[in-house]
Symmetry: C2
Subunit: 364 residues, 2 copies
Amino acid sequence: MTMSTDKLIVESPADFHVHLRQGELSKLVTPHVRKGGFDLAYVMPNLTPPITKTDMAIEYKKQLQAIDNTVDYLMTLYLSPDLTPEEVRKAKQAGIVGVKSYPRGVTTNSDSGIESYEVYYPVFEEMEKCDLVLNLHGEIPSDSTSNTCVLNAEEKFLPHLEKLHQAFPKLRIVLEHATTRAAVEAVRSLGSTVACTITAHHLAMTVDDWAGQSWNYCKPVAKYPSDREALREVILEGHPRFFLGSDSAPHPAQSKSVASPIQPCAAGVYTSPILLPFVTHMLESFGALDKLQNFVSGYGRAFYGRSAGLNARRIVLEKVNRYRVEDTWSFGETTVRPFWAGKEIGWQISDVSAFMKQPPRLDA
Amino acid sequence: MTMSTDKLIVESPADFHVHLRQGELSKLVTPHVRKGGFDLAYVMPNLTPPITKTDMAIEYKKQLQAIDNTVDYLMTLYLSPDLTPEEVRKAKQAGIVGVKSYPRGVTTNSDSGIESYEVYYPVFEEMEKCDLVLNLHGEIPSDSTSNTCVLNAEEKFLPHLEKLHQAFPKLRIVLEHATTRAAVEAVRSLGSTVACTITAHHLAMTVDDWAGQSWNYCKPVAKYPSDREALREVILEGHPRFFLGSDSAPHPAQSKSVASPIQPCAAGVYTSPILLPFVTHMLESFGALDKLQNFVSGYGRAFYGRSAGLNARRIVLEKVNRYRVEDTWSFGETTVRPFWAGKEIGWQISDVSAFMKQPPRLDA
C-alpha cells in the first residue's frame, strides 16, 4: 500500500459504525463522513425515536442521502419488541444490513435497550436465515451489588456473546467498539462469523484521558493501558475479524461541557471529520501503517460482503508537517467539537481519484 | 452515642485531611470547616509555592486563624529537598504535626512531589525520632509502559508503604484517602504506627459517578463498587486505624466545569460545608451510625494524640426531612460548588454546646 514513506493510497475506506443523528446535527455531521475520507457509513439506529422498523430506516436513509448522496449508507434496525421475524424478512428485502442491540440505559438513547436475549431468539433465528448481521453494544448495565461498573461492563458481557454465538453459529455477529484485552481474546476465540470493530479513539486513549476530561468521555470508556495495547496488537497482527468502526458520536458542544452536578455529560467522541488521517496517524504511532488498508476497508468489507465495486475510490494520504485539528464545526445553531481538537496529526488527505476500473484490493 | 433514633451527639469532630487554600478561596472555605461541624483541621501544604519550611507553615497558620480562630489547625510541611533533619527538629519545636508526601504530578500543585523515597531516609529517621507523622498521597504516576493508570496507581503504591514501614517501624505513617480494597488490606496488615484516612466522598462514589461528571472527579479516583464496599466494611468493623480525613479540596467552579479539550478539569471535590451531616448520612446508609463518633473523632484523635481537652464540643445532629445541599458558595469573585450539590441529605446540625468539662470520649 505504501507508495513512499510520505504517501499512502487507501482504497474505498469504510466506517462500520457511525452515528449520523437527526435534524440540524445530522446536516452538520453527515457530510463529515466523506470529509474524513470515507465512502461507506454503517449507520446506527439510536435516534429519538429509535429506528425499529424497516420503513423508518428507509426514510432515514433518504434523509441522509438528501444531505450527502456520495456515501454508501448501510442501514440498521434497533433491536426491540417491534422486530419480529416477519419484520426481519422485510428488512432484508429492503436492503437493511444489520440489527443493533443496546443494553438498556448504557449509552445515548438506549432506554429502549434489551434486558435479556432469550426473548429474541426467534428473531435471531430469522436473522441467521436471512443473513442479517447482529451488532452488539457489548456492555451490561452497572450494578453495585454484582461489582459491575463501566470498567468491567464489557468483560462481563462476553459470556452473552459466547452464548449467542453457540446458539446461532451461522449468525454473523459484530462485537462493537471493543475496549478490553478480554474482548479481543473472546472474539479471537470464536468462529469466523464473529467479528469486532475497533474505534480510532480507543487506539489513542486510556482511562487517564477521560478522567476529568468530559470531551473524551464515551461508552464504552477507555480502559487500562494494557487493554489499549491489546487493540493495537490485534491490528498489528492483521487479524481479519478486527476492523474499523469509528463509533463517531457527535453531541452538541454544550452537552459535552459539563454544567450540572446532577447530570453527567453526554457520552461519545466525534471523529468523523478527521477519521482517515487520524487512524493513519494512530497506526503509524504503533508501526501498523501496512495494516491500514485492511483495517479501514478490506477486512470490514470482506466480513460484510460489501465490495466497493464500481464506486471504488483511491484516497491519497500525505505525510505532512503536523497540523492542529480544528476546534469546532458548526451548522446553524449547532456546534460540535471533534476528538483530538487542538492536538496535532501528521497526515492529510491530499488527493482522491474516483471510480476505479478494478474492484478494491484486500491486501494478502 | 445515639440519644434517640432521631438525634446523635458527636464530640469534637476532627478532619484529618483538608485543603484550606490561599487568598480569596481560603477566605471562602476556611470558615466551612466549622460550618461542617468540625473543630480540628489537619491542613494540607500544597499551596503555590508549597509549604516546605516551618516558617511558611507558621505564617500560613496565622492566615487561617485570622479567617477563623475557632478551629484547631494542625499544620504540615510538603516533603521536598528543603526538608532537612534540622528543619524537621525546627518543625517539631514549632508544633508542626506532619509531613505530606506527594508523588510528582499526580494531583493539585504536586509538581514538586517526590520521585524516590530513599533520598529522604535521613529525614524520615529524624521524623521518627521527633514523632512527626508522615502523610502519604499513595499513588504512583501513570505510565503506560508499566500499565499504570489512575485505576491502579494506589495499589501499585502499596509496596512503597510497606517498605517505608519496615524501614521505619516507629514512624507514624498515614496512608491518605484510601480508595481500594487493596489499600485497606495493606494498612490492616501493617503495625500500629500505620493508619489510613477515608474521605466522605469515597464512601459515596464509584468510578461510574465520575465518568463524564467532572464535579465528582478527584484524585485518587473512586474505583470499583467492591473497593467502596471495603471502605465501608472497615468503618463498620470499627477498626481504630481507619478514620476520617475528608480531603475536602475546593476549586473555583470554573476550573471544575470543563471548557478546554486539552486540559482536564481540576481534581478534587469539596465537602467541608456539609461534612458532618454528610458523613452521618453515609454511615447511616450502610448501618454504621454507631461508629460515627470514633470515625469522625475518636480514632483519629487517638492516633494523633490530639484530645480536644478543654476545647471539646458536643455537636447535636438531628435526623430531618431530607433537604437539598446548596448549589454554590461564594466570596468576592470566587464560587465553589460542594459535593452532593442538588442532592439530598437527611441529617443536620441542630445544636452545639461548647467547652465540656470532661475530655471527649473514645467509644469502647
